[in-house]
Subunit: 347 residues, 2 copies
């Protein structure tokens, strides 16, 4: 595996290697989601992707759809510390929210995927999550569902493929946008959208230097790529300052992040910067879901990342600000899932 | 436990103990669902019930909502032979569909519940299904969700109770109606709604005597109660004629139905008559999901219930008729689930 070219955040804003003129640290949600040229969005593709997203047949035992762990009826995740996969399997990490995921280009907690399409492909064939150990088993099942065979022919002019599944689900995921948070309304000029405490929190968020990592559209740092000199992604060391009591109480060093998959000792404790939009909807927090509340998460982050002890007031103000990042969840109509005749391939 | 007063079907139509004038054997879906006087339907109650129905926090480990096994994105069930409960537990029986369940007054495969409210209460506290072993654990979790506390105050003028949960979910379930099947359109006078094969199948369904048990609104026999002399319910012996090869191949006598819960030897192999509306959407079939297709189910039922060997043509015709029982699934908007702060009570 080639070495990642990783940019580590946690640096002071003044010393940032990226150009402050290239983007604003605080950014409102854009009106348009970026769409890759090889996966243009159509209504039929979104509808197919929505069916697949909600279809539990995308897990081997028929119990888990994408929505099971990334629940768009709620915060876009499952409210658990770590998700439970199909076949009763336990996973190690907290399910990230899917809200506004179309603006996110560093996917998975370890950032190992750079597009929604790639992310889907890795995810659906992760036996620990879906129970599928190979592509053939998944495709055989779906190709036995006449409704999907017809939909793929209409949308992609071809039979069901893993690439097609990924494109359809990604197209649906790009619709999962939550506009008009109070923060966004403020950024667009509605100066009364935030109250005094929230504005104090916004300023604390900057001066405490939460913003050193959590900036940009999703508060998750810049997109990777050559344009901003971001290499393969923008990562944080977590904990940046190991040795606090939280390492033990919150198991912060049990899971070593990027290192766990690339085994590069230089990548121990490296994590992508998690997005903060709609963060009030997705307790508990951290890669292992060990922080129950936003207050706890903010206090610990300041300590282990920035070596700062926040006052109660600072914590309350920052949390008040973070709660303004909750947007309007779109109205979604339940898809109708095409019928499997017979047993399908359930075991 | 008091003895059930059970009426066993499988009798010939001519000798039926119920009055043929009291109801038609073939009945279209009524336009109105019966609503109990103590649980009148309001828009706010339906909305609350919909939230609860789709909320995985109604299982202990946060993985299973009602919809997980009774999937109203599809056939109102999960497509598995037997459902998987929370905590990775296996269950013995096939999840019945919820479509048109508001017309059904004999609930569970063994008919042990006579109302949707009672059914919910038994179900949500079945540790094998939801993981909850007692009412207090469920109520404690839900009472910690401010959105539900407020909704209960608005809908029921009281705090969250098990009875209130049951009423709200039952109110939502009564909206799960699928009108305008081709069968219903035919029954309402649209004589071209069924083609020649389907009409032959309808007639075979009567002459083969499938109709001896599968009649009435849901094709599940009459409602229990004194009005029709139906006692505590209308049941079938299954297999009615044990000894065929299917006992072994389809495990028809492993699960003894009503006997399994009341231990009355007279109730061995007794089952409620399962409804047939939308049956084409809910493969596999039987209480243990051992029949993969409708063709297989029809052939086996004729053999083990009526001691008849159907021809290929008869099977095809009856299946063609059964497929006309698929109605129009209503458009449902995803509910928004209220937030749990902190860990909730996930283990």
């Amino acid at each position: 595996m080639r070495a990642l070219q990783i940019i580590v955040c946690g640096i002071s804003l003044a010393a940032a290697s990226y150009s402050a003129t290239a983007f604003d640290y605080f950014q409102p949600l854009p009106r348009q989601v970026p769409v890759p040229a090889d996966n243009l969005i159509t209504k039929a593709k979104i509808e197919l992707g929505k069916q697949l997203f909600f279809d539990p047949r995308l897990s081997r035992d028929g119990t888990h759809s994408c929505n099971t762990c990334h629940n768009v009826l709620a915060g876009g995740e499952d409210g658990r510390s770590a998700s439970l996969g199909a076949n009763g399997q336990t996973t190690r990490r907290n399910a990230p929210t899917l809200w506004n995921i179309g603006f996110q280009t560093v996917l998975f907690w370890d950032g190992r995927s750079k597009s929604l399409e790639e992310q889907f492909t890795q995810h659906v064939l992760d036996a620990h999550i879906t129970g599928y150990t190979n592509e053939a088993a998944l495709l055989t099942r779906l190709r036995a569902i006449p409704g999907y065979v017809g939909a793929f022919r209409r949308v992609f002019k071809e039979e069901i493929t893993l690439a097609g599944l990924a494109k359809a689900v990604a197209a649906f995921e790009r619709t999962l946008v939550t506009p008009n948070s109070r923060f966004d309304r403020y950024m667009r000029g509605e100066k009364n959208a935030l109250n005094a405490q929230e504005l104090r929190g916004k300023e604390e968020f900057r001066t405490v230097e939460c913003l050193a990592c959590h900036f940009g559209v999703n508060f998750a740092g810049p997109a990777p790529g050559p344009a901003l000199g971001m290499g393969d992604g923008f990562y944080e060391l977590f904990p940046n300052h190991p040795g606090s009591e939280y390492d033990a109480s919150h198991h912060l060093t049990d899971d070593l992040g990027v290192y766990e998959y690339d085994r590069d000792p230089a990548h121990k404790r490296l994590w992508r910067v998690p997005p903060l939009r709609n963060i009030a909807l997705s307790a508990p927090y951290f890669h292992n879901g060990s922080a129950a509340t936003l207050e706890e998460a903010v206090r610990i982050m300041a300590k282990v990342q920035l070596r700062k002890d926040l006052s109660e007031q600072q914590v309350a103000d920052i949390v008040a600000f973070l709660k303004t990042l909750t947007g309007e969840l779109p109205v979604i109509t339940l898809p109708r899932l095409p019928v499997t005749e017979g047993f399908g391939v359930y075991e």
